[in-house]
Symmetry: C2
Subunit: 338 residues, 2 copies
């Protein structure tokens, strides 16, 4: 690489400024000093997420796509709390091997700034270091007033409806296709959709505040796999969750991919991960209004897939009723180390 | 590693809670949810810093020491703005190879939490991923009211006194010693001091708010090397900085190490980096009071080493007057890629 550390930080900062994402209207001191100084509104919501080349993305993927997804995943974590777009900054820690071509680094910078525009983020800082692989760590900080409702994982109660904002399984199926899996029955359209699910996840920034305001009691973004993520809600809330397997929405084409892998579609879709739809528990008397509000805001229905129950099987079990009517304890979700 | 991702996050969260650093008194929702929700005081100061095994620290160093230094370096960035201890959280993104021993991961967790105690940080979140090397990325977020004075890099004015809060060169000399450099003249005490400068930097959290309140116009922490960091102030402020080389305080033992490397002590100390003392520019009529306040708070003097001048040599030059009275343009500072 010919771009040194300072130049790369400077390039990202410059691109962010050109795109109007340098926080000019909100920041007292912006990116480029030792730290940024930003006016707040009473509360912050903050999270960090990391993507590593060869682990979370292929080294052959376009760098702008890779960087956009890293930012999207971090944004999804604050959406899971009920945060919507605006008044949010990001800090990006970037590691790259010294031999990384300048065009790749420029591509990462472009992807970071494009994501800032897409998700309405302002760049508050960054750090560039040498590392054995490309590593992108994104911290997001949203500013909210004291009244905006937010949703933890811990508020599910027995009787709540469990629902999702969209279908699952697509990202895992897309990953299998990118890995070279041959699925002869799959149309080009279905293939493109699944690959897009994997490469361009859509954090639910529009849906999130609508669902928080509509009374969602617990919410999470589906990153580890729907079963695993509902397991987090179940454990944090002290409830069991019973899923009706016949009601779980699955992205078109997932069944064919699962079949090619010798797996059943439902377990494949439930354990896949990286769907980045929202999963939530909401009191039954709030469901209809939440559904109406979600349709008004996004055009999509809120999809009921199960219910929360008093804990009976132990510490926050997720029980899946399959199509044959039998029960099964959930398979474990995704663990980055295993 | 036998510890999975969730267990490691859980262990760090648990250790932070046991140490009273889980933000119980400040956080609405703490570490362990999708994101943390934290009450603010009007403004935040935020920065991110990353350390990579084999680049920033040796793979043979104790993990607790490595993690503490990674946190210390991030804290130093907010100290450079004038931030003192308290009402500050951190998020830690941790990458590690799948084969990392559990004891090493436990050591990282211990170091992170020990640093949280030492620097009064609350753990607001984290992320653990597989990576080809150990990577520790630390974001710090400090909450301040609207009145607390903060100091950018851009406020140096011609006539300002340029000063530092302590001696430089120690960390670079310590690194050379850790690398196996033989320096026969060096006492064990001097060697220990230099190695400690490298391994246990002290972010200036006590000095920082004192200097901001005393009227520092521009401030930076010395991470890239004193000349390079004063260059940042010079460029951001649109001034030149003239250093009196005879007044630059150098850690005892640095001269012997530089000599063993065939270098002169002053250029070695000025370009070394990782000293984490504060360098600042302050109007001359504020210097005496700042010095008095600093001594009262820390026991250490504010050390004048030069002055800011109207820009004459171009875009923010740092001119060093050496002992023989000659001028020299500054050597370039540390660049992580070069």
């Amino acid at each position: 690489m010919d771009l040194g550390e300072f130049e790369l930080i400077g390039r990202i900062t410059e691109k962010a400024r050109d795109a109007g994402r340098s926080g000019a209207d909100r920041f007292e001191i912006g990116s480029g000093d030792d730290a940024a100084v930003i006016r707040s509104h009473g509360r912050i919501v903050t999270s960090v997420d990391t993507a590593v080349a060869g682990v979370h993305f292929g080294t052959d993927r376009p760098p702008a796509e890779v960087a956009r997804k890293a930012v999207a995943c971090a944004v999804s974590d604050i959406a899971a709390m009920g945060v919507g777009p605006g008044a949010t900054e990001m800090l990006v820690a970037l590691g790259a091997p010294a031999e990384t071509p300048d065009e790749y680094l420029e591509g990462l910078a472009d992807g970071i700034v494009a994501a800032a525009e897409e998700f309405e983020l302002d760049l508050a800082g960054g750090d560039v270091v040498a590392a054995p692989a490309v590593v992108i760590s994104v911290t997001v900080i949203a500013h909210l007033d004291d009244e905006t409702p937010l949703v933890a994982r811990s508020g599910a109660r027995p009787g709540d409806v469990v629902a999702v904002t969209g279908p699952v399984g697509g990202a895992a199926a897309g990953l299998a296709l990118l890995g070279g899996l041959a699925v002869p029955d799959l149309s080009d359209l279905a293939r493109d959709l699944l690959v897009t699910c994997q490469l361009r996840p859509q954090p639910q920034l529009t849906a999130a505040p609508v669902l928080a305001a509509a009374g969602a009691g617990a919410m999470i973004d589906v990153s580890d796999g729907l079963t695993a993520d509902l397991g987090h809600i179940a454990r944090c809330s002290g409830v069991d969750i019973r899923l009706d397997g016949t009601q779980v929405p699955i992205v078109p084409g997932v069944a064919e991919v699962a079949d090619a892998l010798g797996e059943a579609p439902l377990p494949f879709a439930l354990s896949g991960g990286e769907d980045y739809v929202l999963a939530l528990a909401i009191p039954p008397d709030r469901f209809a209004d939440a559904d109406t509000a979600l349709i008004a805001a996004t055009g999509f229905e809120l999809l009921a897939i199960g219910s929360a129950e008093a804990a009976g099987r132990g510490d926050g079990a997720v029980v899946i009723t399959a199509e044959d009517g039998g029960d099964a304890l959930a398979p474990p979700g995704h663990d980055h180390f295993r």
